[in-house]
């Protein structure tokens, strides 16, 4: 989101609370969210791809809703209208094809509206045919297939060679030079978050935890515009509580504007003042190799660590603030993570919603599955395996590269080491509570150690390849010069 987007959403909130009738607020949020999928989508050099990707996101959302709705319920009028609204927005944006670029909300010229209409009709017909063919299939199997499809798309997007190959395929279809295919062609706005929200709904439907949602509620949840670009990853059952209460927020305009506006202002300062300033002195692939001293490298690493925090938490504050303005209280994502005393506490306060997601859908099921094995493995083995896999998933969520995998493993090992340490020092730690001064000193040591462990982990995260990261790591400790 740029400053212009944030300003537009904030000013839009004024119109939303003053002009839009309370009963239309849910529809307004849906409309804005569907519109934002196109408006926030980055430009692609592949012809029409920056229009097709948002359509794809909406298509996946509708398909996931279809799979997650209770099979014995009929499609309601509200659902039909929602589908109509979504299609109308897509066609409406395509109709802006001949509008001057500065007045067009799409990043590039949309495709011919007739082609879009025919394409939507064709996709709809194929989906219906597939549905009819599969309706006798096992529901759980269909849900699993849905999850698998999202994971496949996710891997395609996050694995550079596969992304380039996909981009080349799209270039070929568009009659463009395939030699120019690049991963940057395929920037699908917010897909990392959309995918995890969809997997959450599909999986919760499998386990029977997902409440029945209308298409309007489901789509608004999946592509809720403040949380589209950088999260947080809300849970559907929490989101719909706020969503269903939107008409009742009329009496809370002033508090919402103060709190929401306050969060936005704090977020703007964090992102556009602090993070963007720190960007000038933070570690990257170029300056990692240009640094001429160990001290200099540490400086760049600190710059990166704080820049990342202020950038991401700033965006989160903005998203939460805009959400509040529109009546939706998105979950918190950061809680002073660099002030945490140990790595476990760090992961409970850094990208909290992602950590919770993987705990629900990776760590817990994996631990349960391992504990149910015969012969029963040792609990320690279960913990280490589940922690390593969980952190590996978090690493690969950022991109399927060796460095992200190493970053995940770095934290997996760190969490396991912390568990061993805290298990073996429990009595000592309890005794420490009797000595306030020593306890405080230990807190400071813990914070410093945790921060530096996390900061060193950022080396794998910030640098694009193993060799640069390895060399940087060595140089941070005075070797390899």
């Amino acid at each position: 989101m740029t400053l212009a987007h944030i300003a537009a959403f904030s000013i839009g909130a004024l119109v939303y609370v003053t002009v839009v009738p309370a009963r239309w607020r849910g529809w307004t949020v849906l409309l804005l969210s569907v519109f934002a999928v196109f408006w926030l989508q980055p430009l692609s050099t592949v012809r029409n791809l920056d229009f097709m990707l948002p359509v794809g996101a909406l298509g996946l959302t509708v398909a996931a809703w279809w799979l997650t709705r209770p099979p014995d319920t009929a499609v309601s009028r509200d659902d039909r209208i929602t589908l109509g609204v979504v299609i109308a927005v897509v066609l409406g944006l395509a109709l802006l094809r001949d509008v001057r670029p500065e007045f067009r909300p799409t990043p590039s010229r949309p495709p011919d509206p007739l082609v879009v209409a025919l394409g939507l009709a064709l996709v709809g017909a194929v989906a219906l045919a597939v549905w009819k063919a599969l309706r006798l299939a096992r529901w759980r199997g269909l849900l699993a297939s849905g999850i698998a499809l999202i994971v496949v798309i996710f891997v395609l997007l996050k694995t550079e060679p596969l992304t380039i190959a996909t981009s080349a395929w799209f270039r070929l279809q568009a009659g463009q030079d395939t030699a120019l295919a690049a991963a940057a062609d395929f920037q699908w706005l917010g897909f990392s978050y959309i995918a995890f929200r969809l997997i959450h709904t599909l999986r919760d439907r499998q386990t029977g935890r997902l409440p029945a949602l209308s298409l309007r509620e489901f789509a608004s949840y999946t592509v809720f515009f403040p949380a589209l670009t950088a999260g947080p990853i809300d849970r559907a059952e929490r989101f719909v509580k706020d969503y269903r209460a939107l008409p009742e927020h009329t009496a809370q305009v002033a508090p919402r504007f103060v709190v929401g506006g306050g969060r936005i202002v704090v977020g703007l300062v964090k992102k556009f003042v602090i993070a963007d300033s720190l960007a000038l002195l933070s570690l990257n692939a170029a300056n990692a190799l240009e640094a001429n001293s160990t001290l200099g490298l540490w400086l760049l690493l600190y710059g990166f660590a704080f820049r990342l925090y202020f950038d991401f938490s700033g965006y989160t504050d903005i998203a939460i603030g805009i959400g509040i303005l529109y009546g939706v209280d998105l979950p918190e994502n950061f809680d002073r993570p660099y002030a945490r005393q140990n790595l476990t506490a760090f992961w409970q306060s850094w990208h909290i919603t992602l950590s919770q997601w993987v705990r629900f859908y990776v760590f817990s099921p994996l631990s349960r599955a391992l504990l149910q094995r015969k012969p029963k493995p040792s609990p320690l083995l279960v913990v280490v395996a589940a922690q390593l896999v969980t952190m590996l998933v978090i690493g690969l969520w950022h991109g399927v590269t060796w460095n992200f995998a190493l970053w995940g493993l770095w934290h997996g090992v760190g969490l396991f080491a912390h568990k061993l340490w805290s298990d073996s020092t429990r009595a000592w730690y309890q005794a420490l509570q009797q000595h306030p001064l020593r306890r405080r000193a230990w807190t400071v040591i813990g914070v410093l150690l945790t921060f530096h462990f996390v900061a060193l982990g950022w080396v794998w995260f910030a640098l694009p390849d193993w060799e640069t990261a390895r060399l940087t790591f060595a140089r941070l400790f005075g070797a390899g010069w």
């Binding site: 306050g262 240009e290 400086l299 760049l300």
Partner: protein, 380 residues
């Protein structure tokens, strides 16, 4: 919401519409007031002297200049105070130092050269001694713009650093009258530039240097300068960590050696007799006068001399032969007349030692130029 947000979410009294309106009105009022006060107080010069350099990070060895800040960890700005505050020259002068200011254009600044390969760096590496035994320390005050007026402005600002000698390196391009007020660093310091023009009776039109309006002096109007100042401080840390202050391209286009049959130079369409007034000799004279008792060595810098197509018409991309030859004659006559110390090195460096422009040198060329200048410094 988390405990860290209670300051926002748990007010002493519930937020009401009137509170929001009051906050917005007060904020607007404070914003206007801050802008007006900023415009009236003009704190930028004072701010410019505040610097992380010298205290938190080592000072820069050449003036801030960068076309691609993200890769050069350096940027172009126009606050003379901020530029000089970031530079090594603003450090207190040790008693055993013979301080030399080296003025010039991009060649002196060291375009495409590492900091250790500039003329100033080579001169410092030579560990020269002044006749009284003081250690010669040369400060690179070159700046990549070709205008003597820009040099004069820098010289004037740097005089407070107590130089013992000034070496002023230039080429004919810096004498073009239409170049004098072009550099942004001149245009953005109009009051000082005008003062110098008026004091030394330089023939330049001061109406080209209008003062900033009240609006341009507000916080909003000065936001660019403020951002540049902040970025200069932040890039100081990256400069400290890497020692890089310039983008070094993997390859560059070599200076041209073949030319069209073109004898034009700036506003001169055809060969003609040049007078002293046609070139900015008055700015050069003002500089020497501004230096006062501090001796000045004038250096006509070396340039690439082409042997390619139409090299009988042009020496290089910059100069037709007729104009450059007359410039040299006028310069040497004036120097002799006024008793200026002039070293004419125009043809002293081999053509292979020039890189992407007729005056940008290779490290070897820079070393050779430093050797020539060193002789003169020791002589002083």
């Amino acid at each position: 919401m988390m405990a860290s947000w209670t300051w926002l979410t748990n007010p002493p009294a519930p937020y009401r519409g009137a509170f929001v309106v009051r906050v917005l009105l007060k904020a607007a009022l404070l914003f206007v007031l801050a802008n007006v006060l900023f415009a009236l107080a003009d704190p930028l010069p004072l701010l410019g002297r505040l610097s992380v350099y010298h205290t938190f990070v080592p000072p820069r060895v050449r003036l801030p200049y960068g076309e691609n800040p993200q890769e050069s960890y350096n940027l172009s700005l126009t606050s003379l105070d901020a530029m000089l505050a970031s530079h090594a020259v603003s450090a207190p002068k040790p008693s055993n130092e013979f301080r030399v200011l080296l003025l010039g254009d991009s060649s002196t600044w060291g375009f495409l050269l590492r900091p250790e390969n500039t003329v100033a760096a080579y001169l410092n590496a030579d560990e020269l001694r002044a006749p009284d035994g003081r250690r010669v320390r040369v400060y690179n005050l070159g700046y990549p713009e070709m205008s003597l007026m820009k040099d004069l402005l820098l010289l004037d600002a740097a005089m407070r650093f107590q130089p013992d000698l000034i070496v002023w390196v230039f080429t004919m391009e810096s004498f073009a009258r239409d170049n004098q007020l072009e550099p942004l660093v001149v245009r953005d310091n109009p009051a000082r530039a005008r003062e110098l023009i008026e004091t030394y009776e330089i023939v330049l039109d001061t109406s080209d240097l209008p003062d900033a309006t009240l609006w341009e002096r507000t916080l909003i109007g000065r936001r660019r300068e403020l951002a540049d100042w902040l970025r200069l401080q932040l890039y100081g840390f990256t400069w400290a960590a890497t020692g890089i202050d310039q983008q070094y391209p993997a390859s560059f286009e070599l200076r041209a050696s073949d030319f069209e049959d073109d004898a034009t130079w700036h506003t001169f369409d055809s060969p003609q007799t040049l007078t002293r007034d046609a070139l900015a000799f008055d700015v050069l004279a003002a500089g020497v006068e501004r230096a006062g008792d501090v001796p000045v060595i004038l250096v006509n810098e070396p340039m690439f001399i082409s042997g390619g197509r139409n090299s009988d018409v042009r020496y290089n991309f910059f100069y037709p032969r007729w104009a450059y030859d007359q410039y040299r004659t006028l310069l040497s006559e004036l120097a002799a007349e006024r008793g200026w110390r002039l070293i004419d090195l125009w043809d002293q460096i081999a053509p292979d030692e020039f890189t992407d422009s007729p005056v940008h040198l290779t490290p070897d060329g820079s070393r050779q130029l430093a050797d020539r200048i060193a002789l003169s410094i020791v002589g002083e």
